[in-house]
């Protein structure tokens, strides 16, 4: 029986390496628990939805474990709600992967697959590799809006444009609202959204827990903010 929740609840949908997210949290001094328990999730100061794998499988597991409403209401409290890789994709309204699947709907927009084989022949002679596996750079998006720096007040705010992060994914998100597109990355000539969010909700397509010291600093920033008592992400 837990007397208090861990600071960070890492949602357990059994997909992907949840353990490295927890390791990263521990490394920066955050207590973190991999959990599917609603009480534990609600008691946390921040929520991380990680994952590598299939959108449909993940949503099915979240539904089976009654976590869909838990995540939605956590996001509504204003506490930091962070999606990593598949987690970001699950934040969207839906995905075209293997048919139509409904997501958590925290960020309007959908999930699409990189390069159909028909497209790829036109882009270059060599087939673009799918999934994208490896290091690529992230850049602040230049969107319409009154913000000067879309990463200000997010865990990415101290990172320079062009920071290398580790990506492994076959799908990308396309937020419907331009102001939700916070950062982009270019792969095989195609520029897509790699950082998305609004308010306390932030999703990153890359794996900060696998992106060396710069990636770790993203977790470090979260830790600092929680220590400072701020509810901004």
């Amino acid at each position: 029986m837990m007397s208090r929740s861990a600071q960070v609840a890492i949602i357990d949908h059994s997909l992907g390496n949840l353990y490295s997210v927890r390791q990263a949290c521990k490394h920066v001094g955050l207590t973190a628990a991999i959990t599917a328990d609603p009480t534990e999730v609600n008691g946390a100061e921040a929520l991380i939805l990680p994952g590598v794998g299939a959108f449909g499988d993940a949503m099915r597991t979240l539904r089976d474990r009654d976590l869909v409403s838990v995540i939605r209401s956590f996001a509504a409290t204003g506490k930091p709600t962070i999606g990593v890789c598949l987690g970001l994709q699950l934040f969207m309204e839906g995905s075209e992967e293997f048919g139509e699947h409904e997501g958590l709907g925290l960020i309007p927009g959908n999930v699409h697959r990189f390069f159909s084989r028909a497209e790829s022949r036109q882009i270059s002679e060599r087939l673009p590799r799918v999934p994208q596996v490896g290091w690529n750079t992230i850049h602040r998006s230049k969107t319409i809006g009154c913000r000067n720096d879309p990463w200000r007040f997010t865990p990415l705010e101290n990172l320079p444009d062009g920071t290398f992060m580790y990506f492994v994914h076959s799908y990308y998100v396309l937020p419907r609202s331009e102001t939700d597109i916070l950062g982009t990355t270019t792969y095989e000539g195609f520029t897509y959204c790699s950082v998305a969010g609004r308010g306390n909700i932030l999703g990153v397509q890359f794996h900060p827990e696998r992106s060396g010291e710069k990636g770790l600093s993203v977790y470090g920033h979260i830790a600092e903010k929680l220590r400072g008592g701020s509810t901004n992400v």
Partner: protein, 284 residues
Amino acid sequence: MTVRIIPRLDIKGPNLVKGIHLEGLRVLGKPEAFARHYYENGADELLCIDVVASLYGRNSLLDLVERTASEIFIPLCVGGGLRSLDDIRQVLRAGADKVTLNTAALNNPLFIQDAAETFGSSTIVIAIEAIRQPSGHYECFTDSGREATGVDVFEWAAKAEALGAGELLVTSVDREGTGRGFDVHLIKVIAEAASIPVIAHGGAGTIDHVVEAVMKGEADAVALASLFHYEALNSITFDEADFGTEGNLEFRKRGVGFSKIDATPLPRVKEAMSDAGIYVRPVE
């Protein structure tokens, strides 16, 4: 897309080892020290292969994976004797991001599909050990190049991809540890036909070989062992206590390297690749 440099660590029990052509295994030291050295010097990922791969050897490997994953925050791929979904699950729970499969996949190709569906394609790397035959064909081998399978490498590469493999790790067993260079033809044929990443392995003796694997072989990533380990040995401070009592320790005590291979620091490899116009992640 950056080309990834992936140091490969062959593990036997608690030790990092290196197989040398006609010589057996040399014990080089504690894997954790090498892993940390590479992490701090720009490694893009790490590849850990259990070369003993027996039922009672796994605990050592799992311990190593756990320790490495808790301190080293780059992707970790682990392989060696993984035969079931449970084996894979164990390794992933210990902290690995990906696994490589060879024997189990050749014995039962549908295992690739099962594993890909269960853990995600990108988690499953199919390792191909290729030996060139007199006919010019390449045959798949298992058990560090000791067991023939009769399976054609190029056909197997295509089949593995179709079954859901996320990446292909292609080793030229003929070239491995010799320092004579990669088998560029082997890599190129596979890379041109594949739409998943291809990691070249086996034979690097100089920086030029690495550049060649990418420029001519079209590799998406390069796994390196000999090229790095001897330089690492010179750079890392070891205690005598780091060594167990097993293995070929003589050469370590003599303080020599391996004459056909330039002991090369990882940052130097990336520098040379960059000079050649290859996009690599800079060393931080």
